[in-house]
Amino acid sequence: MITIPNWIAFIIALVTSIGLMLHRDWRWGIGFLAIQYLSIFWLVQTHWPVSMAAAKLVTGWMACTVLGIAQLTTDSAKGTEASWPQGRLFRLFTTGIIIAATFALSLRASSWLGLGLPIAWSSLLLVGMGLLQLGISAQPFRVILGLLTVLGGFEILYAAVESSTLVAALLSVVNLGLALTGAYFLNMPQEAKP
C-alpha cells in the first residue's frame, strides 16, 4: 500500500485544521477549509472510486464558495473575532491535546477498522478539531466551519465502511446545506461588537 501520499494528506489535514483553529480572519478560514477538502478527497479516494471522491472535493469547494460569497456581501469587520489574540495560548494548548488524543485513538481505530494510520488519524483529528472549534466559538461562521470539519473527518472514516452512492449524494447535500445555512446566518444581523 502506498502510504506516503496518505501521510502528505494527513499533514495537509493537520496544518489546515490548526490554521482553522488559530487564524481568525475569514479569508484564511475559507482558504484552509478549501485545502482541507483536498486532503479529504485524497483520503476518501483510497476507498472510493476517484469519481465519487471527486464529488466530495467539488461539494466542499462549492461550500467554501458559498461561504466566501456570503462573507463578501457582509461587513468584513464581522469576520474577525474580538477575543483574538488573547486566546492563542489556550487554542494552541487544546490543539496539542486533540492531536495527542486522536493519535492514541487512531492507533486502536486503524487496527479495528483495518485502515492505515494516516487515514484513521486524519479522520479523528478533523473530528476532534471540529468539535474543539464548536466548543470554543459561538460565532455562526466559526460554527459552520467546525461542523464542516467534523463532517469531513467523519466522511473519511465512513468512506471506508460504506460506499453507497445515495449516502454520498445525501452527504453532499448536507455539506452544501450547512454552507447555505452559514450564508443565511451571515446575512442576518450580527451581534454588536463590544
Binding site: 460554527v143 467523519f154 453507497s164 445515495l166 448536507v174
Partner: protein, 465 residues
Amino acid sequence: MSAPFLWIFLPLTLAGLLMLLRNKKVIALIACIFTLFLTLAAWLLPIDTAITIGTVSFKLSSSFEILGRHLVLESADRSLLALIYGSTIVWFAAAPAVRTIRRLIPLGLAITALFVAALAVEPFLYAALLIEMAVLLSIPLLSAPEQRPSKGLIRFLILQTLAMPFILFSGWLLAGIEANPGDLGLVQQAAILIGLGFSFLLAVFPFYSWIPLLTEESSPYAVGFILWMFPTVTLFFGLGFLDHYAWLRDSPSLGSVLTTVGILMVVSGGLLAAFQQHLGRIMGYAVIMETGFSILTLSLVRAVGLNIFFMLLVPRILSLTVWALALTILKEHFPTLILRDMKGLVHIWPFATSGLVLANLALAGMPLLAGFPPHQAIWEGLASTSLPVAFWVLIGNLGLFFSAVRVMLAFAAAPEGANWEFHETGAQRFLLAVGFLALLLLGLFPQWVLPLWMKLPTIFTHLGQ
C-alpha cells in the same frame, strides 16, 4: 404511481411552489387541502393493491428506487402517514392566525415530506441524513432573516448535526453484530454510539438546553411545530431500531436505561418549568417532559407500553398547538413574555391566556383534560413495577402543574373592577375555542381517538405483537 412519490416527492414539489406564492390565505388554503388529501389518501388508499374507479384502474406501488436504494411505504405504514399528515393539517389550519405563515407552511410541508422519507428509506439508518436535511430546512423557519442568529438556534444546529455521524456509524457496527452476534465488545460499542446518536436527536438530558432557548427566542408557533415533529419522528425512528434489532430489543439493561433517561427528563423538565419566569421556556420544558414520558412508556411491558406511547400523541399535538398559538398571540403584544409583565391579562386576552393555562394543565396530566388518560396509564404502569419511579414521575408532573398555577395566578391578578375585553381576533378566538373543546372532550372521552392510533402498532413487526 408509487406511494413514496405521492407522500414524499409531491409534497416536496408543492412546498417549492408555495414558496413562490405571496397571498397568505391562498398558501394556507392550498396547503390545508393538499395535506387533507394526503391524510385521506393514507386512510383510504391501499398500497400494492389494484384500485378500480369506474373504468380507470390504478395501483400504488410501495417502492421507489433512488440511486440504488429504495424508499418503501407499505400498507402497514398508512396509519403512520395519516398521523403525520393529519397532525400537519392541525398546524397549518391554525397558521393563518399567526404571522409566520409564509415561512411555516412551505418549509413545514418540506420538513414533513423529508421526515416521511426518513421513515421510508431502506436501509433505514440512512434516515439520519434525511433528518439532518430537515434540521437544515428548519433554520430559516426558526429564525427570520431580520433576526440575529440566536444561541438556541446555533445549539440546535450543532447538536442535531452531531447526531448524524453517530447514527450512521452505529449502522455499520449493527451490520457487524448481525453477522457475529456473540461479539460483546461490538455490541457495547454499537450501543454507546446509538445511545449518543439518539441522545442528540431526542434532546435527552443534558443535551436539551436548546429547547428552552428556542422557545424563548423564536416564534412560539414555529418552534411548537418543530418540537412536535422532531421528537415524534425521532421516536418512531428509535422504535424502528428496537423493532429491527433483536439483541437491542431483548437487552436486559434496555428497560433500566430507558427508565433512568425518562425519569431524568420528566423530573428535570418539571422542576425547571416550575421556576421559570418566561412563558416560552415553560412550554420548552413541558416538551422535554413529554419526550421523557414517551421514553418511559417504552420501558413498560412491551405491548402495554407501545399502546400508551401512541395514546400520548393526540393529546400532545392538541396541547402543543393550543399552547403555541396562545403564546404567539401574546408575544405579538408582549414580546418579552416575562410573567411579571403579564399580570391581569385574563381580562383583556381571555382566550389566549385560558388556552395557555389549559394546554399547560393538559400536559401536566390534569384530570378531565386530554393529557390525563395516557398519563394515568403511565403512572399505573410504572407503579406496578416500581413505586419510587412512579413517585419521581409524579414530582415532575407536580412541577409542571405548579408552573400552570403560577401562570394562572399572574394572569388573574387584575386590578379590582377591571372590565372584560376581547383583544383576540375572531379567527384566533374560534381556533382557541375549538382547541379548548378538543382538550376537554378528549379528557372525557379518550376512546374517541382510539381509531386514530389503534393501527399504529402494526407498523412494527416485532414490537407490535
